[in-house]
Amino acid sequence: MTTETQSAVAGRLREVLDCVTIRFAGDSGDGIQITGQQFTTTTAIFGNDLATFPDFPAEIRAPAGTLAGVSGFQIQFSNRDIHTPGDRPDVLVAFNPAALMANIKDVPPNGVVIVNTDSFGEVDLRKAQCTSNPLEDGTLSAYNVFKVPITQLTLKALEPVPISHKEKERCKNFFALGVLYWLYNRPMEPTLKWFQQKFGKKDPKLVEANTLALKAGVGYAEATELFRSQYDVPPAAYAPGRYRNVMGNEALALGLVAAGKLCGLPVFYGSYPITPASDVLHELSRHKNFGVTTFQAEDEIAAVTAAIGASYAGALGVTGTSGPGVALKSEAINLAVMVELPLIICDVQRGGPSTGLPTKTEQADLLQALFGRNSESPVCVLAPATPSDCFHIAIEAARIATKYMCPVFILSDGYLANGAEPWRIPKVADLPRFEVKFRTTPDCFYPYLRDERTLARPWATPGTPGLEHRIGGLEKSHIHGNVNYDAENHDFMCRLRAAKIQRIVQDVPDLEVNGDEDADVLVIGWGSPYGSIMAACQEARRKGTKVAQAHLRYLNPLPANTGKVVARYKKVLVPELNLGQLLMVLRSKYLVPARGLNKVQGKPFKVSELADAIMQEAKNLS
């Protein structure tokens, strides 16, 4: 964090910072996520680069004030390109003792801690399992603490508004937001506009109340003597264009809608709700006017099989779930492998095994996607690297699924799903249009005759005269596609299905290596840790370690040059939020002594821990 002291405005110091990380924490009922999202939107519009990390409890609403009920939202914003929501918060805003205790260990010494002193009563402390008051017992001695009676100040500011006490209290998050807006010099307008949109029609009194709260926060920060500095984080240098914030699940849904438009197919999304994938269903269900059909099935098996049925009938069949749902779908995905129909399976991964940590992130379903079905069952596997990449991966998945007539996995995860980043909105005209060809003519039609280049079989949908034919899960004869139990045919077909998936490599760009050409250490990853890995490599380089970096968006097939790339370096490090899954694939495929950097804590890598591990590894070399 670079700090420049400038001349004081209004008697205060004004500092310019490159990068700030703020964490809001409070009860699930405190509106933490909304507060964080408002700060995010404003900051994005202001022009900073940013990344966010919301962290909810597994319960809908655990008992107020308990540790189990703490909800968090972290944002890092900067005047330069950043890749993660930040390792440790520079500022912690804690709405109650539970939030304070659950988060304080992450704040570095001298970090800023803003607390709502009104929620540190005896009952509050007991609920948080505090035996003494952390505001008084020295717990916070290492920090820069600001004690603000947020509730009282909010209530006072809202005196004129004719709403209930409870409703007034609920506005306290915007008071706190106001304080932070003042501290970090953010404009109020985007939030004021949002109040209008959100409550304007339903209840104008709430517009007034929230507006007053926000402004009171700003005014309080301005007036009080507590805060001696204001901070500027100047806008980042963005490429010109139109931008918006986007979360991974939203981007995934938009990508699916776009894919349908780009190839002219109606989208069919069969799903059964499951955290953290449900928002994809919610988002898609709003776009009926795009011809999107969402089908909330009775279970995961019905969800995927309905998608296969839709795909058979000529729609873009998509199903979405999380790890436990993929387990349930595996038998049916194998049907899609056998009948060679396009199918997109979105797996928004979460902590496991079993029900595990439903609201936490993890990337431990790679081997399940690759191998979690009976017998030899090759599928294509893709993984987005950032929230907005979910959009592009969705389109890519649709393109591959329809071109090669095969199932394609998208391995997103909880971190991407709910994390946000500014996204330069693509022009529709710039998106890759792709053509889907249905078979329509009966001459020389054989259901399993293949395209020479892609090895895809024809897509002949019911309703087409003259193409009546039968498909199914039993082994098929080559070309004719009839049920066939011959030994040689089976062997041939197994290898053919594998070869077809391998052919996709034609469409996979070579793996790019970033960073130091002459490094001894390669860091290679996949999926959501992209940001952390990127930032960690940059940090390692800043600290004098040479390091090369590559990131896989295509996990099966791997880019053609992957073997060459990994063979080029003395050390290959594979950071993953699992116990070594890509690692296993790379070692077995390329026989390189790659090593894993593994963590399964339900949360993303810290940049610092990765950077340290990389530098350590580089040191071990010499």
Partner: protein
């Protein structure tokens, strides 16, 4: 779905189909004597008469002897996985509502592993023609009991007799809100064909239980009710608006005593047709009562238990799409991507 659904235009004039047109070139692989042959035959005879182009027919099945059915139909066919035919068919129907989708399933496929999809497809009123071949056994896996096997039945997996109360498929379909419920028997070709024609005409989830003899693993399971010589006395044909009369001489009937059905003899004790229950395909309570009766205390009801016209899932889906389009306009991708709080960087 969107109007871009890629169905090619149907052929202008319907060819004059014969049964042959619906026979595929695949060798039939059921045991000689299996009841499945008769059902296949009935279906192949009915298809040409329905006035629907062949390419619009899709036969979807799960796994089981019965589920091999689609291979033998010259139409579109999808032999899916065990128990999931109804879910696949739901996807097909939602994607392309103009297809006529038939689902062929067995008592294991449709009521054991696939029981949940059955309930839900029925209550959603997906326009599917569901033929459940009930042979009260798992045929393909060689003779284990099924959810319709009788309590105490001895078989491969219950060498000392099953311990389970069987499911009543008609009661279950009714509780699942199926809008069409019928029953027929493999060896009643004319009855079966008539029923199939009604099924084809019905818009909505149509559930048909077909008693089917598995002569290898459960021979004569239905013989006591369906063999030629007893059939007239032991079956009762349900006819909408008509009294429940049966018997070779049509001299017996069913009447209600409170909520209990009773077999009565016409003419005896002054009983006339007027005392009998009148069949009503719209009365679910009656349908429930009829689903509970059968051999030996009662004649076995065959025919249509329920027929009700209600909007189908796919109709509702289209309708909602139209409404949303009317309200929000046809989806515009550029606008969608640019929705929300966007900002420009110059």
């Amino acid at each position: 779905m969107s109007p871009t659904t890629p169905t090619p235009p149907a052929a202008p004039a319907l060819p004059a189909y014969t049964k042959k047109d619906f026979q595929s070139d695949q060798e039939i692989r059921w045991c000689p004597g299996c009841g499945d042959y008769a059902i296949l035959n009935a279906v192949q005879q009915v298809m040409p008469t329905l006035g629907i182009p062949r390419e619009k027919f899709v036969f979807v099945s799960g796994i089981g002897c019965s589920s091999r059915f689609p291979y033998y139909m010259n139409a579109y066919g999808f032999h899916t996985i065990h128990g999931r035919a109804l879910a696949v068919a739901t996807g097909i129907k939602l994607a392309k509502p103009d297809l006529q989708v038939w689902v062929v399933t067995g008592d294991g496929d449709g009521l054991s592993i696939g029981g949940n999809h059955m309930i839900h497809a029925l209550r959603r009123n997906v326009d599917l023609k569901i033929l459940l071949f009930n042979n009260r056994i798992y045929g393909l896996t060689k003779g284990q009991y099924s959810p319709t096997s009788e309590l105490g039945k001895i078989n491969k997996s219950a060498p000392f007799g099953t311990l389970e109360q069987p499911i009543n498929p008609i009661s279950l379909a009714l509780a699942s809100e199926a809008t069409f419920i019928g029953r027929s028997v493999d060896i009643y070709p004319r009855h079966l064909m008539e029923l199939l024609r009604r099924v084809s005409a019905h818009k909505g989830a149509a559930f048909v239980e077909i008693f089917q003899n598995c002569n290898v693993f459960n021979d004569k399971a239905f013989a006591a009710m369906t063999e030629k010589d007893v059939r007239d006395e032991r079956n009762i044909q349900l006819e909408h608006g008509k009294p429940l009369v049966f018997g070779k001489n049509r001299d017996r009937g069913i009447r209600l005593n409170g909520l209990k059905p009773q077999v009565v003899k016409l003419g005896e004790n002054g009983v006339t047709e007027k005392d009998l229950l009148i069949h009503d395909e719209h009365d679910v309570a009656l349908a429930y009562l009829l689903s509970r009766i059968g051999h030996p205390e009662f004649p076995l009801p065959i025919g249509v238990f329920r027929a009700e016209k209600l909007p189908t899932l796919e109709e509702r889906n289209r309708q909602q799409m139209d409404q949303v389009r009317a309200k929000l306009g046809e989806g515009d991708l550029e606008r969608l991507l640019n929705a929300g709080d966007a900002w420009d960087v110059k």
